[in-house]
Amino acid sequence: MNHPRPGLSKLHLDPTVCDAHGFCAEALPELISLDEWEFPVFISGGLTVEVPHELIGEAKRAVSACPVLALRLSKED
């Protein structure tokens, strides 16, 4: 379990919505890769990944690149 620091941004994936378009991995390769069926895999494993400050811009791009709105960026949580 990673304990998030307050104010840290996190990216969340809803796996029931994701359709394996893979645009998110293109926008944010530092944190997202694709599995053999082209579904996203966060480097941390699981369905939530902490986004370092320097990658916030890319994370926002990943969120808006997803055609089915499967990604969400949040503060703290």
């Binding site: 809803d14 796996p15 029931t16 082209e38 369905l47």
Partner: protein
């Protein structure tokens, strides 16, 4: 009051079999009348919650979550939400879906002591201030006519009439968010991120409890929390139902105090019918354990976990040495893959792929690299689904590969030690799946 075992399934003194207490008069003759239960008021739960808290009762549907804590959470989120707007009341759903094919405890409970479960629903509903109560059994269940009759006997008695609901007989339909989804919208698929205690049926705070958990609540309402905790281990007290199957003389359900030696449970079922090569604990979302590790442990969440297993919904299943563990695991994996709700990639595509990998290994066509790739895939499937279905299935497979590693190696070298040509693990009728059985003529 002494700590009698069994509590939920009292035996007939002559035959030793569980009494049939379907008639309300027989039920009350045995257990006494149902006590009155204080109703939740002004956002505060009724006082039974303190007894449930003192009892240490933990849920029997698989997760062993502390029941009083879940009830508090429902009441608190209802109170918080009422302040916001809706004002709609909470809901209770009794989960008697019994999705695990090797489990029969909830059906046994409901066909022998059904009034305990309904009284437990009544007590829980009063305690959390619910205005609707449901009892879920799967579609086509033989329990339906029994429960229709039981509920008819209780009409005019129950403060909140219990409605029988029958979601489809699919493994994931009994997961709690799928159940609330079904009760509200008629869709039996899990809802990612849903917490039924906050937003369950139609967005209302919903208490989902296993049928056995509710039956224990009915007895706690009569006898108190200290009585409940007088049986079993301190951190998971009480008695618990165990569905015992596989290579034992008598399949069926036994009620034991938690912490009972596993050997005692097996002996109550007439003992092993032959050499046992391993045990499945917790069912198809559970874990395999070696015979020596399990036979030297006791039946409570911690010791079973330390032995490498999981109690889950109380399944203890012995695999006889004549069967091929790989064939068994491959077949169940294929079935579990088919039970996916098909919403999430790792579940929808990952499970059939690992089931295929297993079929290849079981058919003695797999190499060391194939085994390696299977293990990698299993690691990648977990924690990425909308519910725990893929995680449970992956655990079932990976603990099997670990427990039966010698037989796995044997298969990689082109051999199989099995002598039986029957499958042992149960697959629900009409939903069987074929497995590639290269070089073998099995039925």
């Amino acid at each position: 009051m002494t700590s009698i075992t069994p509590r939920l399934l009292p035996p007939d003194p002559v035959t030793g079999r569980a009494l049939d207490l379907r008639s309300l008069s027989a039920h009350e003759a045995h257990f006494g009348p149902a006590p009155g239960v204080a109703v939740a008021t002004k956002g505060r739960p009724g006082s039974l919650i303190d007894e449930i808290s003192a009892s240490g009762l933990r849920g029997r549907g698989g997760g062993w979550f502390p029941t009083a804590r879940k009830m508090h959470a429902v009441v608190e989120s209802a109170a918080a939400r009422k302040a916001l707007s809706s004002g709609r009341k909470t809901v209770v759903i009794a989960n008697a879906m019994e999705g695990e094919p090797a489990s029969s405890k909830d059906a046994t409970l409901l066909s022998h002591s059904p009034h305990l479960v309904i009284e437990g629903i009544q007590a829980a509903a009063a305690t959390i201030g619910a205005s609707n109560a449901y009892l879920a059994v799967h579609r086509g269940s033989p329990l339906i006519p029994i429960l229709d009759e039981v509920l008819a006997q209780r009409s005019g008695i129950d403060r909140i009439p219990v409605e029988l609901i029958t979601p489809p007989a699919r493994y994931v339909a009994s997961e709690e968010s799928a159940l609330t989804h079904w009760a509200g919208d008629g869709e039996a698929t899990p809802v990612y991120g849903a917490r039924p205690f906050q937003r369950g049926m139609n967005g209302r705070p919903t208490l989902v409890q296993n049928a056995e958990t509710l039956a224990h609540i009915a007895l706690i309402a009569r006898n108190g929390g200290a009585w409940f905790a007088s049986a079993g281990v301190p951190d998971a007290p009480g008695t618990t139902l165990v569905s015992v199957g596989g290579a034992v003389a008598q399949h069926g359900v036994v009620e034991v105090a938690t912490g009972s030696p596993v050997t005692d449970i097996l002996n109550r079922c007439g003992g092993a019918t032959g050499a046992i090569q391993g045990f499945l604990t917790g069912g198809y979302g559970g874990a395999w354990v070696s015979t020596t590790a399990l036979q030297t442990t006791t039946w409570a969440p911690d010791p079973v976990r330390e032995a490498g297993g999981v109690i889950g919904a109380g399944i203890l299943w012995a695999l006889g040495s004549q069967h091929c563990p790989l064939e068994e695991i491959a077949r169940v994996a294929m079935w579990m893959a088919g039970e996916s709700a098909g919403q999430c990639g790792p579940c929808r595509f990952g499970l059939p792929t690992v089931a295929d990998d297993l079929a290849t290994l079981a058919g003695r066509q797999g190499s060391t690299q194939d085994l390696h790739r299977l293990n990698e895939r299993l690691a990648l499937i977990v924690n990425r689904g909308g519910c725990k279905h893929p995680d449970g299935t992956a655990r079932f497979i990976s603990t099997g590969i670990h427990t039966f590693h010698a037989e796995v190696a044997h298969h990689v070298n082109g051999h199989c030690s099995a002598s039986s040509n029957h499958f042992a693990l149960p697959i629900p009728a009409g939903r069987a799946v074929p497995v590639k059985r290269a070089g073998k003529d099995f039925r």
